[in-house]
Symmetry: C2
Subunit: 318 residues, 2 copies
């Protein structure tokens, strides 16, 4: 098996996890979680969302969280924003390494429900989106593809359709004089399986050999790490994960989003496979337990309960 | 990818799961769980253990469970036994399809702690074991290798050592005129990773091309399904799993760690990959929720919370 030597893990728990959690989390706990995660040496942490508190009330304290957390040298701090207002709010805090993202959604219905725009309208908006990002000097690094593998409204994504959308988006970016380094393939609501990951990643690699892939996977049906493993085998070296697997619905009823793959389980698997992450895994396990205290419930990640294999090996002096 | 067309899933939750659970489960609940599982069309269910109640008090009601459950046509009902007394007890119930197993352990320390015998003593006992099984007309189908990938006392298993042990055990069996059909590779306490699975399964397949492999995996560190996936890709078509991910090994040297891979997640992955199991997955999800009620806690399996993808597809009339 040929794995990358090193992978980049983006911790998205504070943003994506907190957004779906039903419990109302105190601002100071959100800050504390970001600071604890910073101690684990993540290359990237997604901290919060600057979106309308009317739509996402859990993120109404974004400015307070931004003001509170301490920047750790060597970590990039990112956040989500949807429009000029969000960018201005984020930039006003002076705490973020804003990442420029242009985004498309493979499912027409999911696009309308999640962004209030059809796929066609998303493409029509794209020029303006790019000029807004350029206006605010946000470097455009990533083309994000949501529901790249499927969604609960329309089922499995058609591979040709997805590749065509990516092609169109990249052409549009190029027409605007930009060329995103990354294509983020988002399994937004957990429809990917090892074969569909192999097929889509393979197509994207064949067609755009100079672009890098970021896999954003959810563990809705237990295949999250299997899909990540297939990505690793194909050389993918950038993954989004959340501490403890934060973000799943604690009440069993499936509400359209589900937990990301658990950061510590992904990091542990990488280390077992000899792949570097640069992350302090033992510290991360302690942080996972802190996250569980903050959330007031057990999180689904496994390694925080099972311990790392390297912790056993150290005891044998191997 | 070349998967087997069909895989055999052995449900071990009622035996292995119940053995580790801290809650004292009522006999009638144990019986009910076996009966519910029988409705899902498993090819094999491991029901209970006929072992000394002094060592495993959770299994003291083995005879009552055996008397209580209803045999479902098409399902084999197995149980664990360690010696003549266990075989006699199991046979006296008239409810089991006894499987003859000869067993070795790759880790010297685990062998001593779990079976009270060294590896050497296990081999010395083997002739007697075989003659006992033959005396009771129990067909010997399986050579079981415990801690095949590693254990908490001695760390990672050495591949050559494991292959040598298997070789020796098969020779000993052959000397006694028997030739087990299956080699069960047990990741008894969760040390396997995708590479070690590939290596050991590959070696066993190369060396004994006519033998079948049963993978018995635990999900202690979240890699259970990844390891199963690697097995599937290599053509392994027999897996042990437990409903909801129930269980774990009581003698593994740690508490609170994860159990076997969750049956419903494995079955779902197989079905998504186009691999038949013969199991009624939607019924199994209902049974998983019943198992959670019986245990009085949420079980780690994911699909019972996330729903099957095929249930969504049915709604789209695809």
């Amino acid at each position: 098996m040929a794995f990358p030597k090193k992978v980049k893990i983006r911790e998205v728990g504070p943003r994506e996890g907190m957004q779906i959690e039903k419990a109302s989390i105190a601002t100071e706990d959100k800050i504390r979680l970001v600071d604890l995660l910073s101690e684990c040496n993540f290359p990237v942490i997604e901290v919060t969302s600057f979106v309308s508190p009317k739509w996402v009330p859990e993120m109404a304290d974004a400015e307070l969280v931004a003001a509170g957390f301490k920047r750790h040298p060597g970590t990039e701090y990112q956040c989500v924003y949807l429009n000029s207002k969000g960018i201005e709010r984020a930039q006003a805090t002076g705490k973020f390494d804003l990442e420029g993202v242009i985004s498309i959604t493979a499912s027409e219905t999911f696009s309308r429900k999640n962004t209030n725009r059809s796929i066609e309208e998303t493409f029509e908006e794209m020029d303006r989106r790019i000029s807004v990002l350029e206006h605010y000097n946000v470097p455009i690094s990533t083309l994000t593809v949501m529901t790249a593998f499927g969604c609960n409204y329309e089922g499995d994504s058609d591979l040709k359709h997805v590749v065509k959308l990516i092609d169109r988006a990249i052409k549009k970016a190029n027409d605007n004089g930009i060329d995103p380094e990354y294509i983020l393939l988002g399994d937004t609501v957990g429809w990917a399986n090892p074969v569909s990951v192999e097929n889509l990643v393979g197509q994207v690699q064949d067609r755009w050999p100079n672009k890098k892939i970021n896999l954003h996977l959810h563990d809705t049906r237990g295949m999250g790490l299997v899909n990540a493993f297939v990505g690793l085998k194909m050389g993918v070296d950038y993954f989004d994960t959340s501490v403890g697997g934060l973000g799943g619905c604690p009440f069993g009823g499936f509400k359209g989003a589900a937990g990301n793959i658990a950061t510590e389980d992904m990091v542990h698997m990488c280390h077992e496979l000899g792949i570097e992450t640069g992350i302090d895994l033992e510290r991360l396990l302690e942080v996972t337990r802190e996250a569980e205290k903050i959330l007031g419930r057990e999180l689904p990640g496994k390694v925080s309960k099972g311990k790392t294999l390297s912790s056993y090996r150290r005891n044998f002096n191997i």
